[in-house]
Subunit: 481 residues, 2 copies
């Protein structure tokens, strides 16, 4: 019997977070590295989680009136150049196609780092009158940003998967109203599928998206106390409509530039999810995203093998219509090995079935996050699993929320900010005057940027912790991925 | 009121097929051209159809034991070169990334034309023992083939969407058994979703996939009588496992090369679907793939507008949980314009609601493919629409099947083959000795290739129509897209 003893996680989450994270991702079979630096392989477990999350979001998008489309992967350089800030923001990390076969291309083509440039030339063609608005299109696709910072799977990958929504409205008011709707969809998906909380707020001018008027984001804190940006929504005002000439005749016959938004939810969230929930035994996956939700481990000797397997298959048939369930019927591995393997892979519920269970017509269910075991009648297995998965999801979310809350600290002076950043990490809420100058000085001196200015403002007063002038808002400062 | 009189299709399908096809695609809003030659924009109607079709296939894949994954877009040149036939087949149409930002890359990277090369290096790493097999992974992604032939939307696009399945088995027998399963899934999706029939058969050595041992395909006939290849499944034998070093220890401890298959279903099928079913009024979409299945057109004057709209909204609420239904409540367009628009866009059922329907608590349903109108009680609308959509689907499939069958002709001599090719077009079934030499001569002299050798062999005898030697099989010859 060949059982790999080194298959488990060999470092602790609390001791070496990054090494632990990488071991969990690869040893659990969630992802693997590819031959292209910074580009990862989504194995069934991670791609399955992405399919569940993106489907959930897509259903909400469609209810909200958003329509899915697909635009080309390649963008001619001249189109990318139309909006200057946008081009400058992305051009250092664009991968360029310059040849097809053995032929040099007459114009180089960018692999989309994002699709404003290729979409908005078409929008300009399609939009003629107020009757053609709004356009609320979204794409689920792959994008490439050839960053030179050290890549980290999911967290900073050169190629990643995402949704990119690109809307056009006749009025600023309608455009602004979209923000709440989209950010609510993202928050719901994070809470109900990824079991992730986050802080919703407005990005500063310095940190907003290249080309946007305003960016709103959901920000997380990773287990090592560093902040990380999650999904975002950008109001672009008329910046792109002016650059790409998206004009329409309003009801009065006046030619007007349209108002636009963009928004995105990326596979980075899978990294935040794994990092947040997993433990020293391996992956822990929120039940709704788990590729396999229930692993049935049959326990038998030669003499009762057929009977136990028949019982396992019977139970599997009972539950397989409701849950993604499998039987671990691999030959040559002990039940103990299979238990560990199921834990390493983050399967939410392990069902143990042996001679005792066969005789009593019962099953044993073990919950991945707490290790808790319960026993129930076989005919109640479906209901019990449903309950267990629901409880597990809620408990994972509560734990993540408690962690986030315990990692937000208030500072009323610059000295306190610096101490908290060093000693407590996480996000530090502090009064800020709103000036980029103070924001930049703080970043220079502490390494902390403003993650966002929370919409739900903490109840605290005080003057700007840097310049001492009147504070406009409480901002969250953090060292950040 | 601004109603475009030139919005409809201006040529007949029977008179100028290609011009008709392009008008249907663009005027119906199914797709649009992009700024990159040969790369198209999937608008909500075509992307919606693709989502429905690919979801249906994906559900069947998962039932069959296939798992979805995602591998990187970019493939280093050295990996692509490992299997010589494969590389030679694809290299003339590879788009190469040579720069990131302003930096020349040390090795150029191919945008995947297909993913064997990037997947199989990982397979080689993952497969150690018979316990690791089978691997049955699939990707839904975008690929790029920079062909220089004239691009035609969907039919020959430089970028297209597809599934690419890549399996590894321990034995040839298991590998070969997968073919039936996959091709059955494709045939089912074609029949039940795209309403498309096709001829299942084996490709000749000359026409098979670059790198495969054997290719099986489903072949269609387009309305202009030209054949077109549909989904396919390839048995690769040990060709790639030898090139990419995918070896495993069998139960006896011997090191063996694995057996592999690949298979694909592409967005080309959307083109075949549109071409097959649509008519001189515009798009006709099979009901299960239609992005909007029911368009409610309210008919009112100022004095009864609110009442009719209320009634329309009430009916919409009744049916919207079961069908993708919308109300065409656009201002400033007449009901007649909306009727035409709904027909142009290929919406399967148009529901007419006016004063008469309001008073009698009834609705009028018009079926897109036949134009047939029925009336029913409002409370029966849901059942009537369900029935209508089902009948419409079945009738579209029957019509397409009858068309295909009437376009397959038998030839017992070379002269007859040539006459039939010129006068009847379609596929010509004829005896063939199995030699590439005869196949090539026929192609040279008539422009017809062998689409495939049907698995269900027609009942006809005779010697090879070219060389007169003993015929091994009946092959289908056709001029082909």
């Amino acid at each position: 019997m060949e059982e790999k003893k080194d298959a488990g996680i060999t470092v602790k989450k609390s001791e070496n977070f990054m090494e632990w994270y990488l071991q969990v991702l690869t040893k659990s079979g969630f992802m693997d590295y590819s031959e292209v630096s910074g580009c990862i392989i989504f194995r069934p477990s991670s791609y399955g989680a992405w399919q569940q999350a993106s489907n959930a979001i897509d259903i909400e998008f469609k209810k909200a009136g958003v329509e899915d489309v697909y635009f080309p992967l390649l963008i001619p350089e001249k189109l990318l150049k139309k909006e200057a800030e946008h081009f400058e923001g992305f051009t250092p990390e664009v991968a360029w196609v310059t040849k097809s076969g053995n032929t040099e291309m007459s114009e180089k083509l960018a692999i989309r780092p994002t699709s404003e440039a290729i979409m908005y030339v078409s929008y300009s063609k399609w939009v003629r009158s107020w009757r053609d608005l709004p356009i609320r299109y979204n794409q689920w696709n792959n994008v490439l940003r050839w960053e030179f910072k050290h890549p980290t799977p999911f967290i900073r990958s050169r190629e990643f998967l995402w949704n990119e929504g690109h809307s056009v409205f006749a009025t600023e008011k309608e455009a602004l109203a979209e923000g709440k709707q989209i950010l609510k969809i993202y928050q719901k998906a994070l809470k109900e599928y990824l079991a992730l909380p986050g802080i919703l707020g407005k990005k500063t001018d310095k940190e907003k998206f290249a080309g946007a008027v305003a960016t709103y984001s959901i920000e997380h804190v990773m287990p090592d106390g560093w902040a990380i940006q999650g999904p975002d929504w950008h109001h672009d005002g008329q910046k792109f409509s002016k650059a790409y000439d998206i004009k329409f005749l309003d009801r009065e016959g006046n030619s007007m530039y349209a108002w636009q938004n963009t928004y995105a939810f990326t596979t980075r969230e899978l990294g935040v999810m794994v990092a947040t929930h997993s433990d020293d035994k391996g992956l822990v996956l929120p039940p709704r995203l788990a590729y396999v939700q229930v692993m049935i481990v049959p326990i038998f000797r030669n003499e009762n093998a057929e009977k136990v397997m028949d019982y396992a298959r019977k139970i599997h048939r009972q539950i397989a219509k409701k849950f993604r369930a499998r039987i671990d019927d691999r030959e040559g591995y002990s039940p103990g090995y299979k238990f560990n393997d199921s834990e390493l892979k983050g399967i939410p519920v392990r069902m143990e079935i042996g001679q005792k269970e066969l005789e009593s017509n019962r099953v044993v269910l073990a919950r991945r996050d707490t290790g808790e075991k319960i026993e129930c009648d076989a005919k109640e297995a479906k209901a019990s699993i449903g309950k267990l998965l629901k409880e597990m999801h809620e408990s994972m979310y509560s734990k993540a929320e408690a962690f986030l809350m315990s990692n937000i600290h208030a500072a009323s002076s610059y000295g306190e900010l610096k101490t908290l950043l060093d000693e407590k990490k996480g996000m530090i809420s502090a009064p800020w005057c709103g000036k980029t100058e103070c924001e930049e000085k703080i970043k220079e001196e502490t390494g902390a940027k403003i993650t966002n200015v929370p919409l739900k403002q903490p109840k605290m007063g005080g003057n700007c912790i840097y310049c001492g002038k009147k504070s406009r808002k409480i901002a969250n400062f953090a060292r950040s991925y």
